[in-house]
Homo-oligomer: 235 residues x 2
Amino acid sequence: MPHAPRPRGPKPIRMDPDRILDAAQEVFARDGLRAASLRAIAKQAGCDPALIYYHFDSKEAMFTALLARRFPPILQELEVVAEPGDPRSTALRLWEVVRIYHRHLKADPAIRSLIRGEIVRGAEGLSGLIEVRIRPIVMAIRSILDQGISRGDLRADLHTLLGTFFLARMHLEILDLLPTVLPRLMGLPHDQAVETGLHVWFDLYWRGIARDPLAPLPPLPELAADPIAIKETHP
Amino acid sequence: MPHAPRPRGPKPIRMDPDRILDAAQEVFARDGLRAASLRAIAKQAGCDPALIYYHFDSKEAMFTALLARRFPPILQELEVVAEPGDPRSTALRLWEVVRIYHRHLKADPAIRSLIRGEIVRGAEGLSGLIEVRIRPIVMAIRSILDQGISRGDLRADLHTLLGTFFLARMHLEILDLLPTVLPRLMGLPHDQAVETGLHVWFDLYWRGIARDPLAPLPPLPELAADPIAIKETHP
DNA sequence: CGCATGATTCAACATTCGTTGAATTGGATC
DNA sequence: GATCCAATTCAACGAATGTTGAATCATGCG
């Protein structure tokens, strides 16, 4: 845990805990939560492994700190789109969800790897915290689907919780698997794989949930527009 | 590797390599590929860790042996359904794919965990083998989609490779995440979560790919009918 | 300067891991 | 019964892991 706030002074702290988190994020992304070693994280951060224990209580605490700085911004943006007064069409709002999700998670395989792998294990340890972080996100997206039904844009018999699950989960799979699978299975380059994958997916998904599946989608804004401020640490 | 074939005799071999694989499958399923220890596998199998090295060359070799006995049966059943002469409707054939997939993978979280986690890492080590195993499966399902377009059952602009990806991947997610997520997010019991999840998913997916999304689905056979012979080792 | 205190490093701990070589068991064959 | 050999166990190796307590460094304040 960071100590007392420093009153003044040029730069007495050489290693900001955030720099350690950056390193941790990268190593977690590369090796996965379990296989990532504190020594590798320390090496990435350019400090001693023991220093990590000065700033964080444990490896797990460091990870929850990672969650704590990643999820709230996502939730905040989602809640804006989920505002019941939002005048945009349901299709556009859902596409906006995809864009938010995309911007925040594209450059952070560590969080994705966690969501993918660690929730499955069940109720031990981190999972409770994850639920606390993820539930509001799920509920925000779900409320858009609920509003879509009320507005008559979506089919009335849509299972909105599962609909949310499908949308969010498949997005993660597209981010994780398509860049490595599609180039091998067909000739597509990495970036284009994700781009087309998401568009094809959204089109299929929309037909699945829309009350009028054959009505053409409105023009969708670019995915890559105004990228979020995720530190891309590739030295 | 198993030694020379034994000419006769009652039961000179006490520990069948398959029994070790059964144990490995269970421990891999519980702890994941990396975290599963040979000592835990040996304990589960009721033998010494060193015995594993008598029957298998390494931990990795044991895992590829696991793949080798799990994937071919799946592929074999899928290729029957993918036969171009199959008279059933495309919807029914795809539902049959779901049932096959479901029967073989429901009780084997280890393989799912592998597919989920290990492919992402890229081209190192096991991934090549996985691709060899998985590619024919993907292609079998894809050919059903291609035939569906030719027959006029599916929309002509369907991206069949991505369509296959969506179908198969979301199925895995449903098997892995719904049993732990849905009971927490709503009140659903475990088994029912997967059951309804798969039905809702297939309905949504079909509307997404069908040429006539609003035409009602034919009655779908039960998922749980004639379960496959997967040893459920829960002592 | 001297000293207190936060920041960082060093060295080591107990544990667990995958793996291996030697030793032991036990049934089949002579 | 002696022998052979596959099957199994025992004990240990070296490496890697999360973690910790003591020691060291560097800076701000008196």
